[in-house]
Structures are given as structure tokens and as C-alpha cells.
């Protein structure tokens, strides 16, 4: 049996999560659990209105997305133009009208493609207690996090500095075998401070720092990125699931990373 508590503020909702309730954002994760009798879900806490958490705004060279902004909100936002390619690949239109930015960060493997893009774009989180946290830190301790996310601040990528690729077996709306996001800022034509993130290659989205290091100072051409391609799966132990074995994921990672970096092979 499930009880539902409705509150007015994110802080009240976070207090509920602190006593083991689950927070209902868009419902695509929590209600799925309820429908399938997930025994971990005995209390749901929700906000009476999430409207104030759906705002997307510019802040200097960054974009701030409210945690309750949906994929549909992202697609309607011109500020988020670089993220449209990502949001468009999350479910169908009905899912996109429900699935939220904050919820995607907590989506279990192999879901959470949007969080992969956020991780590549240096996401910093404003938490329900007013503190700030970078996304990478939260992901490392995601299972024990009891605070809620209020908003997510990301870099606004220039030109084609941001790349995203979702690899799935079913088109157009399959679950990820692997997703890849790259933020590739360049100085005088050479990469400076790249961030590369993978989804479905670990229990949570992860940065691939060996690839980032190999890309530093190089230009984006087939010869220059060979070191990065060689490091594509370094240090990873991807999970097996019905879509692919961990071994397969490791084998194809260099192929998809090369396509991502060189802009080959469609989306």
C-alpha cells in the first residue's frame, strides 16, 4: 500500500525523502515502480505545484534549468537549443511531457541519457538545502542522496562544441546501448578542457578522463584523436544487460567515440 503526501515546498518534500519517502517528479520512474509493486515505495511525497521548478533561464555563459523542467520544456526553450538533440531522443512525446531534468539524473541504468549531456556540460546542482554540488559528485553517491535537486546549471556550448550520440538497437526510440556526450571547447583550433561522458557504460553516467586528457591540445581530425580513441573504454567495466554484454559495449565504445568526435554516421 502506498501513501501520498502533498507539500508546498521543496524543503518539505526533502524532509519526506529524508524519512525514506520517494519524491514524485514527472512520474515516469516512480509510478512505474508503483505499478509493478516495488516494495521500496511505501510513501510518495510530491509538490502541490512544480511550476516554479520548471523555469529555464540564461545566466551569463550558463543556462539554469529547473529540476522539474520536462524534456518538452527543454525542446521549447531556445536557450537550450544545443540540448534539443538530447531531449528529442528521450522516449516519445508523451514521455517527454512528463520526464524531468531532475528525474533523469536519478534514472537507473540504462536510462538517463539527458544526465550524460548534463555531465559533459559541467553541470552544477543547486540542492534543496541551498548548497551547491557538482553533478559528478552527486552521481558518485546517488544511492544515498537524501536531498532533492532544485536546479541544474550547465555551460552554454558555443557553435558545434557540444556533440551527443545515442546508440540503440530500436529506432527511433530504443533504450541506450550506450550514449555519449562531448563538450569540446577549442582555443586556436585546439581542444582545451574537453569533457566526455558516457551513459549505460557504468551504473551511472561517467566522465572518461583518460579520453579528456588525450584530447587536450589536439585538433579534431582522425590522426590527432587516435590517442583518445585508444583510451575510449579505459577503466570501464560496463554492465551486462539484455541489450548488450559489457564486453560488447567495451568493443564498440571506440567506434562510437570516433563517430562522435568526427561527426560521422548521422546522429
Amino acid at each position: 500500500m502506498v501513501t501520498v503526501t502533498t507539500v508546498d515546498t521543496l524543503q518539505e518534500a526533502a524532509a519526506g525523502v529524508g524519512r525514506e519517502a520517494v519524491y514524485l517528479g514527472g512520474g515516469t520512474l516512480v509510478m512505474r515502480g508503483v505499478n509493478y509493486g516495488d516494495q521500496q515505495i511505501s510513501e510518495i511525497v510530491r509538490l502541490r505545484s512544480q511550476d516554479s521548478l520548471r523555469v529555464i533561464r540564461s545566466e551569463g555563459d550558463r543556462i539554469v534549468l529547473g529540476a522539474a523542467a520536462t524534456m518538452g520544456d527543454v525542446l521549447r526553450s531556445s536557450d537550450c537549443a544545443a540540448l534539443h538533440v538530447v531531449a528529442r531522443q528521450v522516449g516519445g512525446p508523451a514521455v517527454r511531457n512528463m520526464a524531468t531534468v531532475g528525474g533523469n539524473i536519478f534514472a537507473p541504468h540504462p536510462y538517463g541519457d539527458f544526465a550524460v549531456a548534463l555531465l559533459a556540460l559541467d553541470a552544477r546542482l543547486r540542492m534543496s538545502d541551498g548548497s551547491d554540488l557538482d553533478l559528478e559528485t552527486l552521481l558518485a553517491a546517488r544511492g544515498s542522496e537524501r536531498r532533492l535537486i532544485e536546479s541544474v546549471s550547465i555551460m552554454r556550448p558555443a557553435g558545434d562544441d557540444f556533440r551527443f550520440r545515442k546508440v540503440s538497437r530500436v529506432k527511433p526510440k530504443g533504450v541506450s546501448l550506450m550514449s555519449l556526450a562531448a563538450w569540446l571547447p577549442r582555443r586556436a583550433g585546439r581542444i582545451a578542457g574537453a569533457r566526455i561522458a558516457y551513459g549505460a557504460m557504468a551504473p551511472t553516467p561517467v566522465r572518461i578522463k583518460a579520453v579528456e586528457a588525450a584530447l587536450e591540445g589536439v585538433s579534431l581530425d582522425a590522426n590527432s584523436i587516435s590517442g583518445a580513441i585508444a583510451a575510449a573504454a579505459q577503466g570501464l567495466n560496463p554492465p551486462d544487460d539484455p541489450l548488450a554484454s559489457g564486453w560488447y559495449r567495451t568493443q564498440v565504445a571506440p567506434v562510437h567515440l570516433k563517430r562522435l568526435l568526427l561527426g560521422e554516421g548521422g546522429r
Binding site: 500500500m1 512520474g27 509510478m31 512505474r32 505499478n35 512525446p93 508523451a94 526510440k173
Partner: protein, 160 residues
């Protein structure tokens, strides 16, 4: 189990009903209100057979907590026809053989209605995108795409 009162517009008419805590909108519509048009398929947001419109947007009723539609407008396939007069989409589905077993049809119709309400003359690619969250295991999709194109008054491009 605590009952919660919830009021909303269903196909333009006010509804006041009690929902169980944790009950999803699909279950409330089918068992609480008696609108059997939205279907339970997967219960996890994959198949789209439970698609309804909430304030004009397609949503998955199986993943919507029923009490969250308080004060909102819900549209289901039951509201499409006007007495004996079928909606243009229903006519087009019939004329183009877009339903075989029919289980996905209510979800397909609502996804299509959401598209045509905003984009009266969509491209074929926009139609494909609009129903990309709805699974049909019978038709191979082409008759459904044709039907939606026909309902928008555009030529149907038959495969083969």
C-alpha cells in the same frame, strides 16, 4: 486506504470522483469513472496504449498519479466522436485499415490528435515522430501514418 477527492474535466464534462492513494490515472479512468477507452499495455511507459491528453498534451495515464490532474482537462478517445459522427481521425483510421487488433488504437488516436491540434498539416516525418512512443504489433505502422496524413487532408503515400 485513504480516498482522495479529485475533480477534473473529462472530455469537456466535469468529473468529481474519489481516488485511492497511489492510484494511476488510467486505473481511475477505467475503474473509477468507467471510461474504458484508454488501455493498459505495459504499465511502464513503453507502449503508449494508455495515452490521453492532459491540458492538450499527450501523457501516459498509467504513469500519471491520478490526484495530480486536479483542476485539469483530460481527453480520451471516448470524447472524440460526436454521437454517431466519428472524429476525422477515427474515419481515417477506418478507411485506411489502420486498426487490426485495435489495442493500440486509442493511444494512437490521442497521440495523433495532439499532433493535429497543434500542427494541422504535418509532414510525414512529424507524424512518425508524434506516434514514436506508441507501439503497434499488427499494422507495421504505415496504414496508421497514412490515416493521420489523410485526416489532415493530405495525400496518402502508400508503401510499395
Amino acid at each position: 486506504m485513504t480516498k482522495r477527492p479529485v475533480q477534473f474535466q473529462l472530455n469537456g464534462s466535469p468529473v468529481a470522483v474519489f481516488t485511492d492513494e497511489g492510484q494511476n490515472l488510467l486505473d481511475l479512468l477505467r475503474r473509477g469513472v468507467g471510461d474504458l477507452s484508454p488501455k493498459f499495455g505495459c504499465g511502464q511507459g513503453t507502449c503508449g496504449s494508455c495515452t490521453v491528453l492532459v491540458d492538450g498534451e499527450p501523457r501516459l495515464s498509467c504513469l500519471t498519479l491520478a490526484e495530480t490532474v486536479e483542476g485539469q482537462s483530460v481527453e480520451t478517445t471516448n470524447g472524440l466522436a460526436n454521437g454517431p459522427d466519428l472524429h476525422a481521425l477515427q474515419e481515417a483510421f477506418m478507411e485506411n485499415f489502420a486498426a487490426q487488433c485495435g489495442y493500440c488504437t486509442p493511444g494512437m488516436l490521442m497521440a495523433a490528435k495532439a499532433l493535429l491540434d497543434r500542427t494541422p498539416r504535418p509532414s510525414r516525418e512529424q507524424v512518425i515522430e508524434a506516434i514514436s512512443g506508441n507501439i503497434c504489433r499488427c499494422t507495421g505502422y504505415e496504414p496508421i501514418i497514412d490515416a493521420i496524413m489523410a485526416a489532415s487532408g493530405q495525400p496518402v503515400r502508400r508503401a510499395g
